[in-house]
Assembly symmetry: C2
C-alpha cells in the first residue's frame, strides 16, 4: 500500500477558528479606498460619515402655495376673511422654495380663494412656521449619517449625498484567489472521459466571494503535481489578499496541499470536528491567509461558510451575522456522532400551523441538497442527534414568507413533481409511498404522493389510506396513470420479457416502502420467485431516474420504474402494467390556497401537454378529488 | 394666482397598480439572454434548467482506500482474516476514482492492515456497494436542477455546472433611465446657492435599480423647461426599458411631467391614496413604462417600492416578495387618515422579551427616517391608526438577528449617542428627557437618556426616577457632564449675556419635555420673566443640532443647547451652567450583554478622547452605575 497522510487532528469549530483568527491579527490589511457615493452600493464604510451641510439648506416651503407674513393673517375668519396682497403680504412658492423673512409661514394653494391676479382671500389665521420645513429638519450639519462598518444601502447613498458628501472612505473589497487542483478535474464544457469530474466548486466559490463583497479570481485547473501547485499558490499570493486551494486538503495519496503550505508558511489547523468538511486546512503564507477546502461540494460549502467568510469579513469590514432562524418539527430521526458538529440541510414547509423540517441527503457529495435546502439544522458536537417530532432550530437560506407559501409533499417520486415545482412553490421529498403516508399521519406533510397496489382488491391507494387513517376525513387528489415496467439497456440485449427473467440478470432495486418495490414483490410472489434468486435485489436506488441512470451507464442490466425515466435515459422499456399515482391529503387541507393552486396545475392544459411530451402517462382524472369516508 | 394642476384623483394602491400592470401586458419585453453560468449570480432563469449528465458520472469511490471484489471478502473475521492481493482482489483508489466491475465495493484505508507492498489484511466482509457513490447519486441526467424564474445562487451555479450545463437562459436585466429635473436641483459637488437642492434621489434610485437586478442610467439634471424635459424623456425611451422622471409629478406651477407624458403617450394613473407618495404618475409612452416620482425622498422611495419594483419584476422575472415581518408593540400613538394608506418608518428593538417599534419622523422629506428605520408599519387606508401599546406588524429592512442585539434608547438627545452608535448597535430615538422616562415606564426602551433638574434640590435625574418608578429597582448609568448655554451667532452681535436677554431677540425653543426647555423655564422663573415675552418661544426644534443650524443659517438669534452643537456649527456660546446627562435603566437590565457593552464604551479611553475633541464635556463618572433604592 502507498503512504497516506494518516491523519489530521480534529479540533472543535470555534477553537480552530479562534486560533486561526488570532494568528491572522498580524496580517497586513490592504488600504482603504475613497470612492464616489454613486459607486458605494454594498460597500462598507471605513469610518462614520458626517453631514457637511444641512438638509434642507434653508427654511423651505413644504407645500405649493404662498409664503405669507403671519402677522398679516391675524384675525381671519369665515365671517371676516382677510385679503392678502402679492408682494407685500405674500409671494408664491412651490414645494422646496426658500422662505425667508419677512415671510414666516406657508399657506397651501388648496386653502386659498383667488380674488384677482394679485390678491387672495383667506378665512383662517396661520401659526408661525406652518408648512415650513426649517433648515436642517432632515439632516443637520455635523450629524452622523451612517456609522463606520456600515453596509451602504440605496437610502444611505441618498442621505450621504444630501448631507453634502460626494465621496466616502470604504474598506477595500478583498481579492480572493480560487485554485482548482486535481488531475481528474475538467473544466465545464471540456470532453468527459472515465473518471473525470467537472469543476463546479470554483463557480460556487466565485459566487460566494462576490456575494460576500469580495473580488474572485479563478485560476486554471492545476494537475496533481507538487511543484505546479506550489507555483500557482505563490502566484496567487502575489496577486490576491486571500487564497483558496481546492482540493487536496485530505489524506489521499496525491493530497499535496498541506505539504506545500507547510513549505510556504504555517499550517495553523489541519482537520476540524465538523461534518461535512473535516479535512480543511487553515494556513498562513506570505503573511496572507491560505485555506485548503475539501473537494466534495457540500464539505467545501460548509467550510467556506464557517472559515472563509469570517476571514473575508476581517478584510471587508462586514459583520458575520447569523441567518434568520425558525423553530421547526423534525420529520425524521437525525442521528449524529459526538465526534463532530454536523450541518444537516433540510427542507422546511408549513403544514397546518407549524413548520416541519425534513432532512435532505446528508452525503458530502450531495450538491443538490444545497440547492434544495431551505435551511440547515446544526447538531452540536456534544449531541447524538434529535428524535423525529423534536423541535429544532433551523437557520434559513430563504425568506420566511416564501416558506409559508410552499406546499409540502413527502412520498413517492415521479418526474411530474419537477414539472409542478416549476409552476408553484413545492417542497418535495422522496421517501417512497409508504414513507409519505406515514409522514402525513405524523402531520409532517400536506400531500403524500402514493402508488400502492392493494394486492387483494387490485385497487390503488384508497385501502391503504383507509387503514392508516381510520378516524380522519381523508381525500385523494387523482394524479396520473403511468406505466410501470422494466428498464433495460438499449435493444434489450438480454431479451428480458417480464419479471420472471430478472433471475438471469444484474438487477437494481428501489428502497423498502417504494411502490415500485411493492409491485415487484407482488409480481415475484405471483410468479413464485424467491427474491434471494435475484442478483442485486439488495442494491437500492431511491428514484426512478437513479435506477435508469444505473442501467444506462453501469454494470446493471435491469431495474423497475416508469416509462418517462427510461425514455429520458435512452433505455428500452418492458411494460409490466399501468398504475395510479395519486396524492393523499387530509380533506380539511383541500381549502389551502397552495393546494388549490396545485390542483389547478394538475388540471391545466400546459401540464397535460408536458406529460404527452414525456410519454407513458395518462391524465384523464388528473386533479379530481375523491373524498374517502 | 398662477394656474396649478388642481389635482389628481387618488386611487387605492392596489387598484392603481392593477390598472397599470394590466395596461403593461401589451408592452414588448426585451429578449432573453444566454449567459455563461460563471456570470449567472443573481440572474433569473428564464426556464427550468435540467441536468445534461449525471453526477457522479460513474460509480465512484467515496473514500480513500481500495476497490475490492465483494466475493473475495466473504468470511473475513478477527479469527480468520482474509489476505487480499493487489491486481486480482483489489486496486487502490482515492475518493472520487471510478469503481468498475469486477470491483464492487470500497474499503477505507483506515480499515486495512498492510501485509506487504501488494497485500492487505481485512477482518470483516463487506457488503455490495460499500463506500461507493453510485452514478447519479447526486444528480441524475434529465433531472430538474433549478426551476424557471429562479434567482441563481452560488450553490445553484455549482449544481448547474456539475449537471453538465455551461450556459443558461436568463431574463434580461431591465435598463432603467433616471431623469432628475428641476431648476433648483444641483449635482452633488456643485456650488450651493440659496434655494438649491442637492440631487440625492438619483443616487438612491440608482442603488435601488441595481439592487433589484436592473441597470440604472442617470441622466444629467434637466431644468424646468417643457421642451427640454420632453426631449430627454424621448431619448431615454429610445435607450432604456423603463423611464423614471423625478420630480415634477405634483401640482406645482412648473410640474410639467404629467403634461409631457400625456403628449407622448398615456397617463394611466395620476395620484394614489398613499402617504407619503401621493403625487405619483404611472404612464406608458412608446410602449414602455414611464413613472413620474415625487421629489421628496421618502415619497419617492415608497412609490419606488410600490410601483417601480413590480414593473421591474415584470421585465426581470423576479418575484415581488414580502419582507420578513415581526410583531412589535407600538411605543407611540399613530394617527393616520382614512384617505390613504400610510407607510410609517419605525425603529425596532428588543426590550426584555418583546420587540418595540417607535415611529420615526413621518415627513415626506425625512430622508434620515429611511436611514434610521429598522422597518415600517403600514396603516391601512380604512384605519385611523393604532394606539400606543397596540401590537402591530412591522416589515423589516434588517435581519431579525441584528435587531435582537440592538440596545434601545429613547429620551434626550446628545451628540455622544452618535459616537456610541458608531461602536455598538444602538437604536436611539429622541423625544426629550421626560418622554424617555415615560417610555421606560411603559417598557418600550432599555435605557432613557435624561438631564432633568430637580428645581428644589438642584440634583439631576434621581428624584424624577424615584417619583416615576416607586415600585421598581432602578439604576442610573452616569453619562457626561455637559455645559448648557445659549447659542448665538458668531461674535454675538446682540451681546446676549444670559437668559434675561432673550426677550430682545428672535428665539427658537426645544419641544415640551426636553431637559433644555425645562432648564430654560427654570431660569425664566428665577428671573421672573413670562415666556410669552420671548419671540419664538413657540418655535420648536427637536435636537441641539437642529437649534444650532437654525441659529447659524436663518433669521434666528438664539437658542439653548450644548456647547458641542454650537462648536460644530461655528456659533458663539454663552454659558448658562453645567448639567448631568445620564441614562436611566431598570436595575435588572444591567445584566444584558448590550448594556454591558454600552457601559464599556462610556468608560473607554477612545470615547473620552472623542469627547475632548468635541468640547464642552466632562466624563469623570462616565459608565458608573448608581443603584436607586
Amino acid at each position: 500500500m502507498s503512504k497516506r497522510n494518516l491523519y489530521l487532528n480534529t479540533k472543535p469549530v470555534e477553537t480552530a477558528l479562534a486560533e486561526y483568527m488570532e494568528k491572522l491579527q498580524n496580517c497586513t490589511l490592504p488600504q482603504n479606498e475613497i470612492i464616489s457615493v454613486a459607486e458605494s452600493l454594498g460597500r462598507v464604510t471605513a469610518k462614520a460619515v458626517f453631514a457637511k451641510c444641512c438638509s434642507p439648506l434653508f427654511n423651505a416651503a413644504a407645500m405649493d402655495g404662498i409664503a405669507v407674513k403671519v402677522a398679516a393673517t391675524k384675525g381671519a375668519s369665515e365671517a371676516q376673511p382677510v385679503i392678502l396682497e402679492e408682494g407685500s403680504d405674500y409671494i408664491e412658492v412651490d414645494t422646496g422654495d426658500p422662505v425667508h423673512l419677512p415671510y414666516d409661514a406657508v399657506i397651501m394653494a388648496e386653502d386659498l380663494m383667488p380674488v384677482d391676479k394679485e390678491h387672495v382671500k383667506i378665512i383662517q389665521p396661520v401659526p408661525v412656521w406652518q408648512h415650513v420645513r426649517p433648515i436642517g429638519e432632515d439632516i443637520v450639519e455635523g450629524e452622523m449619517l451612517v456609522p463606520g462598518g456600515h453596509v451602504m444601502r440605496p437610502v444611505d447613498m441618498g442621505a450621504v449625498i444630501a448631507g453634502g458628501n460626494s465621496h466616502i472612505e470604504v474598506f477595500p473589497k478583498p481579492k480572493v484567489a480560487i485554485i482548482p487542483t486535481g488531475t481528474e478535474i475538467i473544466k465545464s464544457g471540456d470532453d468527459i472521459t472515465d473518471g473525470s469530474i467537472i469543476d463546479s466548486n470554483s463557480y460556487m466559490f466565485s459566487g460566494m466571494v462576490s456575494e460576500k463583497g469580495g473580488v474572485p479570481k479563478v485560476y486554471s485547473i492545476v494537475e496533481d503535481d507538487y511543484e505546479k501547485i506550489k507555483k500557482t499558490v505563490e502566484d496567487a499570493l502575489a496577486e490576491n489578499d486571500i487564497v483558496i486551494v481546492n482540493a487536496g486538503s485530505s489524506a489521499g495519496r496525491e493530497d499535496y496541499t498541506v505539504h506545500i503550505l507547510r513549505e510556504l508558511g504555517e499550517v495553523v489547523v489541519h482537520g476540524v470536528a465538523i461534518k461535512p468538511g473535516k479535512p480543511v486546512i487553515l494556513a498562513i503564507a506570505g503573511g496572507k491567509p491560505v485555506i485548503g477546502l475539501p473537494g466534495y461540494p457540500v464539505s467545501a460549502y460548509i467550510d467556506f461558510e464557517n472559515f472563509v467568510i469570517p476571514v473575508m469579513n476581517l478584510f471587508s469590514g462586514l459583520q458575520t451575522l447569523k441567518r434568520n432562524a425558525v423553530k421547526a418539527t423534525l420529520s425524521k430521526r437525525l442521528v449524529s456522532s459526538l465526534k463532530h458538529r454536523e450541518y444537516v440541510r433540510v427542507r422546511v414547509g408549513k403544514v397546518e400551523d407549524k413548520f416541519v423540517a425534513t432532512p435532505l441527503a446528508r452525503g458530502a457529495g450531495a450538491a443538490m441538497s444545497l440547492v434544495k435546502a431551505d435551511g440547515f439544522c446544526v447538531v452540536p458536537q456534544d449531541s447524538e442527534g434529535f428524535e423525529a417530532g423534536e423541535e429544532v432550530e433551523i437557520e434559513l437560506y430563504k425568506p420566511i414568507d416564501e416558506l409559508q407559501n410552499t406546499l409540502v409533499s413527502i412520498g413517492s417520486h415521479d418526474l411530474i413533481l419537477d414539472v409542478i415545482a416549476d409552476k408553484i412553490n413545492l417542497s418535495s421529498t422522496h421517501v417512497g409511498s409508504m414513507g409519505g403516508l406515514m409522514a402525513l399521519k405524523r402531520g409532517e406533510t400536506t400531500i403524500a404522493p402514493t402508488h400502492l397496489l392493494d394486492m387483494e382488491t387490485g385497487e390503488y391507494n384508497i385501502s391503504y389510506i383507509k387503514n392508516l387513517f381510520p378516524d380522519k376525513k381523508m381525500a385523494l387528489i387523482k394524479g396520473v396513470n403511468r406505466i410501470q415496467g422494466i428498464m433495460v439497456k438499449k435493444d434489450n440485449p438480454l431479451k428480458i420479457k417480464g419479471v420472471k427473467d430478472l433471475v438471469n440478470c444484474r438487477y437494481v432495486n428501489r428502497q423498502k416502502g417504494a411502490g415500485t418495490r411493492v409491485l415487484l414483490d407482488y409480481k415475484l410472489k405471483l410468479e413464485g420467485i424467491d427474491p434471494a434468486q435475484i442478483d442485486g435485489y439488495d442494491k437500492e436506488a431511491t428514484t426512478h431516474m437513479a435506477v435508469a441512470a444505473l442501467v444506462a451507464r453501469e454494470d446493471i442490466d435491469a431495474g423497475m420504474g416508469i416509462e418517462s425515466a427510461a425514455r429520458t435515459m435512452g433505455l428500452d422499456f418492458v411494460v409490466v402494467g399501468p398504475e395510479e399515482y395519486d396524492f393523499a391529503i387530509e380533506a380539511k387541507s383541500l381549502e389551502m390556497p397552495e393546494v388549490k393552486a396545485f390542483i389547478e396545475v394538475l388540471k391545466s392544459e400546459e401540464f397535460h401537454k408536458k406529460l404527452e411530451e414525456m410519454g407513458g402517462y395518462g391524465w384523464d382524472n388528473a386533479g379530481e378529488v375523491v373524498i374517502i369516508e
